[in-house]
Amino acid sequence: MKNTFKLGVTALVLTIAVACKKEKIEPTTPTTGTDVVTLKIEHTWQDSLEFALNTDLVNPLTGDSLNFTTFKYYISNIRLKKNDGTWWTQPNSYFLLDLANGTTPSVQLTGVPYGEYTDVEYVLGVDSTRNVSGAQDGALSPSLGMFWSWNSGYIMLKAEGLSPDASMGGSFAYHLGGFSGSNNVVTTKSHTFVGNSLSVTGNGNCQIHLSAAPQTLWQTAGSVSMNSMIHMPGSGAKTMADDFYGSFEFEHIHE
């Protein structure tokens, strides 16, 4: 009896193993399925140099000497547009990009259905709903230090560092956020792949490359000697966030 049972189980396992193998090995081009698409954001300094933390940099816009110790921000609500005009929307799409882990952070879009994609859309910041709906988890956990305790809402971008030019004792700290009224910094960006389309076919190599330029934080705000600290929503936060978010550009796609 036992032996028969064992045999049965072995046969079943074998069948499953064969079935699984079969699916992987056959080189047919499947028409349905999903794949991972990687969104990469390269951060550049002076348009050509790579941005880096804990490195002395000079802002070409203001002449300020800057050494960043922290640079992190939220990207959320990522969508891809198919060539038939429909959208694939990533569920629960919230990511905190921390440049301490590398200045070309990437986001994995899992479960993207096979197809031809022509556009990417995303939100810089955290949508207002998640700012007013109580305790969140994952990338939105308040324990990550990106939530204002006394004036509820996400710090959507945190840039801190040292600067001999700063008005505040040699350091700067910009905590930018705000989700309502004229203080709303949350920005939806979209880029078309300029005539190309991203073929998601299951090869696992699909990438979308974007770029952003941290020095643009000061594009309108001017030198750190004018104002080296922001820690609440308001016009100062809005100006700096708008300028930085405006620097996001589409670079290219890979397959």
Binding site: G134, F147, W150
Partner: protein, 356 residues
């Protein structure tokens, strides 16, 4: 003779046996009854209770459904000084059930290292109906409210990340988290939602005023006169039945604002010196008064409205002429305010400090 005696004796013995059996049964059943009283009865009472004359709660229970095990975890957390940096301050330190969940009748409440902030610790009853939190309304949801006192350097001075580490290391909390959420995993979301489960249950709805509203008791003549005066002179801001309209107003305390109040949140100049209208439930127990605890007695408060209102550009228009009150009117109003005392929440089993 002997035999009769013997018979009598055996009859009496039998009677005694029956009586003692009965006594045992009686004792056992009374034991059962008393045990039932101690354990089962409070359990029966557990649950969120909104009287029909209260508005619908603001808190969305759909996203954090009432759950006894989550509540139990929240109750343990609320009373645990482990949540502070040096293990000396719990939520209950400044929101004591013995004081209607306000501070211990001090203007400012000490945090870690006896540090103090700038504002009076308010009573936190009936937060399920509150659309905003703190004197300046800067916090928009009860679940994220505890982050402020937990992390404030002059209150509990701890980081959420470190609280998570401390709770993970505790056998007591491993059990409580597992019972509440199925796994021992400690996350800030679990901590905050459990604290909300506990705070939602701090409901004050059984004062004499409530009993009067339900037709169970009547006011005395003085209380009734005080109630009428209250409705004429106070209830525009301290709206029944929660005794606040949750608006932000400048009630004329100062000519210049050392604490800018609501302005700190909105940066709008017309919010300078405005603070949230506090509930008056349990008001006679929760002295001292105002956002900074400057008035120690209710008489000082009434006298402020009578003669002390200071005029600035953001003064509430309702207070342009203050609130004129005679001595007897004050007495009557205080008699009415006494009907807002709710002794039940001071002694409520489920709101008290749990035994480990």
């Amino acid at each position: 003779m002997i035999s009769t005696d013997h018979l009598n004796l055996s009859t009496s013995m039998n009677k005694l046996k029956t009586i003692s059996k009965l006594l045992v049964v009686l004792a056992a059943s009374s034991l059962v009854l008393s045990c039932r009283k101690a354990i089962v009865e409070p359990y029966k009472k557990w649950g969120f209770n909104s009287p029909d004359y209260f508005p619908a709660p603001v808190y969305n229970f759909e996203n954090n459904k009432q759950d006894f095990k989550k509540f139990t975890l929240g109750r343990a957390l609320f009373y645990d000084p482990l949540l502070s940096s040096d293990g000396t301050v719990s939520c209950a330190s400044c929101h004591a059930n013995s004081h209607a969940f306000a501070g211990h009748n001090t203007a400012l409440s000490p945090g870690v290292n006896n540090l103090v902030g700038t504002r009076n610790s308010p009573s936190i009853v009936n937060l399920a109906w509150s659309p905003s939190f703190m004197w300046d309304g800067g916090i928009n949801h009860i679940e994220v409210m505890p982050i402020a006192p937990l992390t404030n350097p002059v209150e509990m001075n701890e980081s959420l990340a470190n609280i998570i580490l401390k709770l993970k290391a505790s056998e007591r909390y491993k059990k409580l988290f597992r019972e509440a959420y199925g796994t021992e995993e400690v996350t800030d979301q679990r901590i905050l939602k459990s604290l909300a489960q506990f705070m939602m249950m701090i409901v004050s709805n059984n004062s004499k005023y409530d009993q009067m509203k339900r037709g169970e008791v009547s006011f005395t003549a003085t209380e009734q006169q005080g109630y009428s005066l209250f409705q004429q002179k106070c209830s525009q801001c301290h709206t029944e039945p929660l005794f606040t309209d949750y608006s932000f107003r400048n009630n004329g305390l100062d000519l210049t604002f050392s604490d800018q109040g609501r302005y700190l949140i909105t940066q709008q100049s017309n919010d300078l010196g405005k603070f949230k209208v506090p509930t008056l439930r349990n008001v006679l127990m929760t002295y001292p008064y105002m956002h900074d605890g400057r008035f120690y007695t209710i008489n000082q408060v009434l006298e402020h409205y009578n003669t002390g209102v200071k005029h600035t550009s953001t003064l509430d228009p309702l207070l342009d002429n203050g609130i004129p009150l005679t001595a007897s009117e004050k007495t009557q109003i205080i008699a009415f305010l006494r009907t807002l005392n709710d002794d039940n929440i001071l002694t409520d089993y489920w709101l008290s400090e749990p035994k480990e």
